[in-house]
């Protein structure tokens, strides 16, 4: 165990231990539970901050425990891992606050927050995994710890959504397992390295490598909701709003997208992926997903379903950026991992607020809601602009780099996809904004605000903060430690010679 490796365990423990303790806490001990939650979330953020500082200054954090003969359990904090860890940890804190407000007075909160913490532990593990086996362990753990949250409401619809979630993700897990084992039997190692570890096999096992690539991509593609593996995501909308935030922004979908990044860059390496001829089909698949998701979103009246299909579309930007395989596009894809998280979590928080405060679930019921809930709808509007890609919100930065990168790599068609997608984004977001701000409320109007506030503080602040962060990530994209700067730092590692 190298010095400093304890911090990797501490980062995991900061959510794992509170989670396990919370299971045992009686339902009514709200203060204790809340305290534990916040203690865990804040200490995780502090630990992550420390690691960010260390990694930026050239330190390496690695933890290695013997698991199987020749295969270790490896945690490693590199720049790429920290990108995802930071996103998850920061959003976890906000989501926890939001969930405390959202679930106030509802039953089974100990169970909820327990699994919530496990989920975050698993997604941080996914980020920190130093080899494919460790990745697989946490990836499956993520599936299992999310399931109780999806079925949390205990309704028949929730049960079915849970069934469908597991059917998709566990099948994906099995494919990932098959690919991992096959790769291991060929390569004898599963260790992520900056330029991939399978170069040596390309002469003898070209066909196998291609097949393994698709097995692995199918495995992580389920969580990343690549078409046609996306079916579980819209169904999972029956879960409470904080869970949706978790699925779409903090953990699950992101873990899938992050897996694609790991596989393309650190298992195969971008050059080999291009050489094997798998990068272009992946890019095409991502492009199809982008357009398909947007098209489907267009026809959803249920707000959360529309947002879900929007996620299907937006997450594939990451895959697209990665698959284009040029440094600039990579920056666009990776930075979108963060940007999409910030913007989508804002949207889901707002949707939750609408449902919780004025009982609106459908877009057709949203007429005039902007006046009743100006802050909420303000945040929503900002995030929607970001999704469409309007400057100066963060989404613009992602799309700019994606487009630029695609042209640099000679893939001009991507620009068309981006443009089409932006149009579609506008087509399904702008009508919502129009209804909310410019139409009069139907019938008797909305339930009146209590105490002069549009909703509880714990429900209001998280979306406002994440909206502000989305804006900040766009406006201040070039200051140190901004997502964009950090991603460029990563790109310098993944692409030798990129500066």
């Amino acid at each position: 165990m190298s010095p400093g490796s304890w911090i990797l365990l501490a980062v995991l423990a900061s959510s794992l231990l509170p989670g396990l303790v919370i299971f045992a806490i009686a339902e009514r001990r709200v203060a204790l539970r809340t305290g534990l939650n916040l203690l865990g979330a804040v200490s995780k953020l502090l630990l992550v901050g420390w690691m960010l500082w260390g990694v930026a200054h050239g330190h390496a954090f690695e933890l290695r425990l013997a698991l199987l003969p020749g295969l270790d359990f490896v945690l490693r904090a590199g720049p790429l891992a920290l990108l995802f860890v930071t996103l998850s940890s920061a959003l976890w804190l906000l989501t926890t606050l939001y969930a405390i407000g959202y679930l106030e007075g509802s039953p089974h909160r100990s169970r909820f927050f327990g699994f919530f913490s496990l989920c975050v532990t698993a997604s941080v593990g996914v980020a920190l995994a130093g080899n494919l086996l460790t990745f697989l362990l946490f990836y499956e753990l993520l599936t299992l710890s999310t399931y109780p949250l999806v079925v949390h409401r205990g309704t028949e619809a929730a049960r079915r959504a849970g069934q469908s979630y597991l059917a998709y993700t566990l099948t994906g897990g099995a494919l990932l397992l098959a690919g991992t084992l096959w790769l291991y039997s060929l390569a004898g190692t599963l260790e992520f390295t900056a330029t991939g570890f399978v170069h040596g096999l390309v002469d003898d096992h070209r066909g196998a490598l291609i097949l393994i690539f698709w097995l692995l991509i199918a495995g992580v593609g389920v969580k990343a909701a690549l078409v046609p593996l996306h079916g579980w995501l819209p169904q999972a909308m029956v879960a409470p709003a904080p869970v949706s935030a978790l699925l779409h922004a903090v953990a699950v979908v992101k873990a899938g997208a992050f897996g694609i990044v790991r596989i393309v860059y650190e298992v195969y390496g971008v050059e080999l992926a291009a050489d094997l001829g798998v990068a272009l089909p992946l890019a095409a698949l991502a492009a199809i997903t982008i357009l398909y998701g947007s098209l489907r979103a267009l026809y959803q009246d249920d707000l959360k379903r529309r947002l879900a299909f929007s996620t299907v579309s937006q997450v594939s930007y990451i895959a697209l950026g990665v698959a284009i395989a040029g440094p600039i596009a990579t920056i666009g894809g990776l930075v979108h991992l963060v940007h999409q998280g910030l913007m989508k979590i804002t949207l889901f928080f707002c949707a939750g607020n609408l449902a919780e405060t004025v009982h609106i679930h459908r877009i057709s019921e949203m007429d005039g809601v902007g006046r009743r809930m100006p802050w909420t709808m303000g945040a929503f509007t900002l995030a929607a602009f970001g999704m469409i890609g309007l400057p100066p919100v963060a989404g613009f930065v992602s799309k700019w780099y994606l487009g630029l990168g695609a042209m640099q790599a000679g893939q001009d068609w991507v620009v068309l996809v981006l443009a089409g997608s932006s149009l579609l984004n506008a087509a399904y977001f702008l009508p919502i904004l129009h209804r909310a701000w410019f139409r009069a409320p139907a019938g008797n109007g909305f339930a009146p605000a209590v105490g002069g506030r549009e909703t509880g503080w714990l429900l209001l602040w998280p979306p406002v903060i994440t909206a502000a962060m989305s804006l900040g990530a766009g406006l201040l994209a070039f200051i140190p430690f901004s997502p964009l700067e950090w991603v460029q730092f990563i790109a310098r590692q993944e692409f030798i010679g990129y500066d």
Partner: protein
């Protein structure tokens, strides 16, 4: 551990004598049966620790019963392989004993303890025996104890299941004995080691091993000989179901493994490939058929019982995996032993959890489980954790076992085995989560609920957690298994 801490005692003999003496004492004086039962079961764990230390020093211990030695006398043998099965027996046995203490009413408990101690003694004796006929006697002792325990609750389903079980187990033992008869007359010995030296290929040896294999496969409930298992395992009282699924089917499997590794494979070399292939196909069929049936069951205990049919299939997937020299592949067998341990712990936990559900709601119909996630959280956690291990999902013992077996199959290019294992894992996840899903939902009709004693919840959970911890400790445990499956495992990496 140093030998200073543990004196040099005849651990093998004590492991056998202690529970059997306890059984006789319990029969003689029923009011003391409970105390004797609990103490004896717990004492077994200590004796096992002693035996483990001794085996760690000497690798293989032999104990000539009566002082005669083979071939005239019977020999006991303790090595890493027997230790794996003995460990599963001791751990599961202790958990089930504590559970049973709360499960049975006082009047029933007096009958239970001697029968359980007979079963425990028979299992220990079986895992320590190196003599083919002695194995027959231990098989019968174990079988009759298991049948008696199955019928114990006395319901119609239990009686019918027990009767079917009795006939199957008697048939299996007798067919095994017929094989023993042939082997004895072919070689003039019943001792495993001597047989290894003396047995020569020929129609008699082949027939004998075929008969023994068939008899044991019947007792292990290998597809298509599994017909007796679901009725018996699903209708027995929960602690008994746990014992039957976790341990009793493993006992006959243990003998099969011994026969295969020590007699059959060395004897026939590559010729054995055909037999191994057949067993592998049956194993695959068991996985698919058992899982599919489990998925269709309307009741928790039946579902868990069919899951056992499927899980037994995994144990047979090592038979077709041979090294280049035509010998059994140590890497595959290591994986199978791992699965034996993981399945014993997880399946026991599942049956105990199912027993809690049954006690709580008075039924175990899956769609009518009523919000038990809220009411019996420990039981639900036990069932889910154990189920995750059964489905081979990380981070559990079941996952490690499946990984090792998949790895062995892949290195030999056996894609059929790989595909069936992956599919079986998915089906297993399907039937486990079919139950788990209903833990959260309210039932259509409310009904009375009986309290479940804490000991029953905690024993189930403890066993499930042990199955989980098994997934975190492979580096520590694998050397033992390597010792059990013979000369160094095939290098995992080419």
């Amino acid at each position: 551990m140093s030998p200073v801490l543990l004196p040099d005692l005849p651990w093998e003999a004590l492991l056998i004598l202690l529970p059997l003496t306890g059984a006789a004492a319990g029969a003689l004086w029923p009011p003391a049966a409970r105390a004797i039962g609990l103490l004896t079961t717990a004492g077994g764990l200590l004796l096992l620790a002693g035996l483990g230390t001794a085996v760690a020093d000497a690798q293989t211990l032999r104990h000539a019963v009566g002082g005669w030695g083979a071939p005239l006398g019977i020999e006991l043998r303790a090595d890493a392989l027997s230790l794996v099965f003995l460990t599963a027996t001791a751990l599961v046995g202790l958990g089930v004993a504590v559970y049973a203490d709360s499960y049975f009413e006082r009047s029933q408990a007096r009958g239970f303890w001697p029968l359980w101690l007979f079963l425990l003694g028979a299992l220990n004796a079986l895992f320590l025996s190196a003599d083919l006929f002695n194995l027959y006697v231990t098989l019968e002792l174990m079988g009759l104890a298991a049948v008696a325990l199955t019928a114990f609750s006395g319901g119609r389903a239990a009686l019918s299941g027990a009767m079917r079980y009795l006939l199957a187990t008697l048939l299996g033992s007798l067919v095994y004995l017929l094989g023993v008869a042939l082997l004895y007359h072919a070689t003039g010995t019943l001792d495993f080691s001597l047989l290894t030296q003396r047995l020569e290929a020929g129609p008699a040896a082949r027939t004998a091993l075929g008969l023994m294999g068939a008899g044991l496969a019947l007792k292990t409930a290998l597809f298509p000989f599994h017909f007796w298992l679901p009725p018996a395992h699903s209708s027995a009282p929960a602690p008994v179901s746990a014992l039957l699924s976790a341990l009793v089917v493993k006992a006959s499997f243990y003998i099969l493994v011994r026969l295969w590794l020590e007699l059959f494979a060395p004897l026939s070399g590559l010729e054995g490939a055909g037999t191994g292939e057949v067993l592998g196909w049956l194993g695959m069929a068991a996985i698919l058929w058992g899982s599919w049936q489990a998925l269709r069951q309307p009741r928790v205990k039946l579902l868990v019982a069919y899951s056992t049919v499927a899980q037994i299939g995994y144990l047979f997937l090592a038979f077709p995996l041979l090294t280049a020299a035509g010998l059994p592949d140590p890497a595959a067998w290591r994986a199978v032993l791992w699965l034996v341990l993981a399945h014993a712990l997880a399946k026991a936990a599942m049956f105990l959890a199912a027993g809690n559900l049954l006690r709580f709601g008075g039924h175990d119909r899956i769609p009518d489980l009523d919000c038990v996630a809220q009411r019996l959280p420990l039981t639900v956690a036990a069932f889910a954790l154990a189920g995750i291990s059964i489905a081979g999902l990380p981070p559990t013992g079941g996952f490690i076992g499946k990984w090792l077996l998949l790895e062995a199959a892949l290195l030999q290019g056996r894609w059929d085995l790989v595909a069936v294992m992956l599919l079986g894992g998915l089906l297993a996840a399907g039937y486990v989560f079919k139950v788990v899903g209903h833990f959260f939902t309210p039932a259509a009709a409310g009904h009375a609920a009986r309290p479940v004693p804490a000991a029953m919840e905690w024993t189930a959970l403890t066993l499930a957690i042990l199955a989980l911890l098994l997934g975190l400790a492979p580096a520590w445990l694998l050397p033992w298994l390597d010792l059990a499956v013979g000369p160094g495992p095939a290098e995992a990496v080419p």
